[in-house]
Amino acid sequence: MIPSLVSWFTDPANWSGEDGIPNRLLEHVAYTAEAILVAAVVAIPLGLWVGHTGRARWLVSLANSARAVPTLGLLFVVSLWLGPRITGDLAFVVPSIIVLALLAVPPLLAGTYAGVQAVDPAARDAAKGVGMTPLQVLRQVEVPNALPLLFSGVRSAVLQVVATASVAAVISLGGLGRYLIDGIALGDYPRAAAGAVLVAVLAVLLDGVFALVQRRVVSPGLAPGGRGVSGRGKDSRSVEVEADSPSTPVRAPA
């Protein structure tokens, strides 16, 4: 298996044109980005609202239970339903983005909600005490403090979507799933295995990228040991920052 996989990857024919790795990789990333954007536009504001007001928490449980819906089955249903209603390429693109976005909503919503929910009540009180409006409290206190959990929501959404975006190939679109579907249809197993490896590598790389972004964006004061919610960052500066500046969690993101 490994030698044929290596020769597949080293064949120049697999690195150019519509069927080449760069193009399929780009398509895959594009489907992922579109789905995450659509989901973020819906889920993040909703999560902030639920977390800030404490109302309609059932939305989070509802979204979580929606994780049980099988993506491939949903894809068939949505594309059969939308097929006669949309013309051209969109008839395949829209169903794919819809099902992938649905996959990304639960982690985004839960991460955002939990992040806001877990903000230290003392920080919130202090913000109110200095005369901030509810919107200012949200923007300057709750959102920055929610970032570590919000980011873990984003990262788990990205991982899920990037790993599942292969289903787009089932309804004739591109992306790395093309290698899986075509490889299996033609009995070309090295191609199918290469597709699987590429999806895995892409998932790891994207997660790494988001880990870096998270490090830059999240306040060092929210690192483990800080007085806010337990964060994920490991920045050593956080200790001294926390020591001389108790108001760190209130800082806006860098």
């Binding site: 298996m1 490994i2 030698p3 996989l5 059969l80 097929g83 006669p84 013309t87 051209g88 390429d89 008839a91 395949f92 990262r155 190939a169 089932v170 309804i171 004739s172 093309r178 579907i181 075509d182 299996i184 249809a185 033609l186 009995g187 070309d188 197993y189 295995a193 699987a196 490896v197 895995a200 590598v201 998932a203 790891v204 997660d207 790494g208 880990a211 490991k234």
Partner: protein
């Protein structure tokens, strides 16, 4: 960063897993029983089927006819495309498969160009691997075809595949994924007819019909017996240069089991006609009847089981 580390570990583990598969050409080898050489009579017979409804129907007919002769026959439909299921026959995980003469000839002899039904059948007998053999072919034929909607045919004046040559650049073709690389697929359309479609949509057989019906594609590769052609008034373009050759239905069986199944399957081949298949497919695909029941009806009506 912990997540990244564990993801890397997972990736490493999965690559190790791939290495463990060894050099065999079937990465899913553990699922199929090891090739046995015994093949003695009395052992169960598995009739395979490809991933389209006609193949499922034919598998049920074959299995029903074998059971009527007292053999322990079961079916394993929806195995996949030819590239997959012929391996299943070669490694003895299925013993009988409904096949098509022309496609089989071209699979084992990529440069074959014969189109006469008798010639193709004779050639197939010569070139299938020693472990396999074909029984009698039937007159029933199911060919690949290129179909368009009635509207497209009228607007562009299409009656044959040749007519597509000047207009195909603006058109989209839908077909199963393997059509893109098969010699009779897109490469054949280009070589034989000079027809190059503007774009290609790889879909499963049901998806192909849906896409043509919904107007997302302009042309589609659909089997000539498919009842959706009449149902949707699609126009089948004539294959004037015989790109798709002759495609008589023929049982492809393991050579070591041929004696047990020969009489039953040859009797089926003698009774099958293109019309009877088209009529049965209408029942399974349009009226959504169980293929097994439809197959049984055919067998009873023809005194086969």
């Amino acid at each position: 960063m912990k997540r990244t580390t564990s993801a890397l570990a997972l990736l490493a583990a999965s690559i190790l897993g791939l290495t463990a598969c060894g050099s065999g050409n079937d990465p899913l080898a553990s699922e199929t029983p090891a090739a046995t050489t015994s093949g003695g009579s009395g052992e169960p017979i598995v009739v395979g089927g490809a991933n389209f409804s006609e193949s499922t129907l034919l598998a049920e007919i074959y299995a029903g006819a074998l059971r009527a002769k007292g053999l322990d026959a079961t079916t394993k439909p929806n195995i996949g495309s030819r590239e997959i299921y012929l391996r299943a026959l070669e490694d003895n995980s299925v013993q009988v498969f409904p096949e098509y003469t022309g496609a089989l000839a071209l699979f084992y002899d990529k440069s074959y160009t014969g189109t006469d039904p008798e010639e193709v059948y004779a050639h197939v007998q010569d070139i299938v691997p020693d472990t396999l053999t074909v029984l009698d072919k039937s007159v029933a034929e199911d060919n690949d075809s290129i179909v368009v909607t009635k509207q497209t045919a009228t607007e562009k004046g299409l009656t044959t595949i040749e007519d597509l040559a000047p207009v195909a650049g603006d058109l989209t073709l839908a077909a199963p994924p393997e059509f893109k690389e098969r010699p009779q697929g897109i490469p054949g359309l280009e070589k034989t007819y000079g027809v190059t479609f503007g774009s290609f949509r790889p879909l499963n057989p049901q998806g192909v019909v849906q896409a043509l019906k919904n107007g997302q594609v302009d042309a589609a590769n659909i089997f000539s017996t498919d009842p959706s052609i009449a149902e949707n008034e699609f126009v089948q373009l004539e294959d004037t240069k015989k790109l798709f050759g002759s495609q008589n239905i023929v049982p492809l069986v393991r050579a070591d089991r041929a004696d047990e199944v020969r009489d039953a399957l040859n009797a089926v081949s003698a009774k099958l006609t293109t019309e009877s298949i088209a009529q049965m497919l209408k029942q399974t695909d349009i009226d959504k009847k169980d293929p097994k029941a439809v197959a049984q009806e055919f067998l009873s009506a023809n005194g086969l089981g």
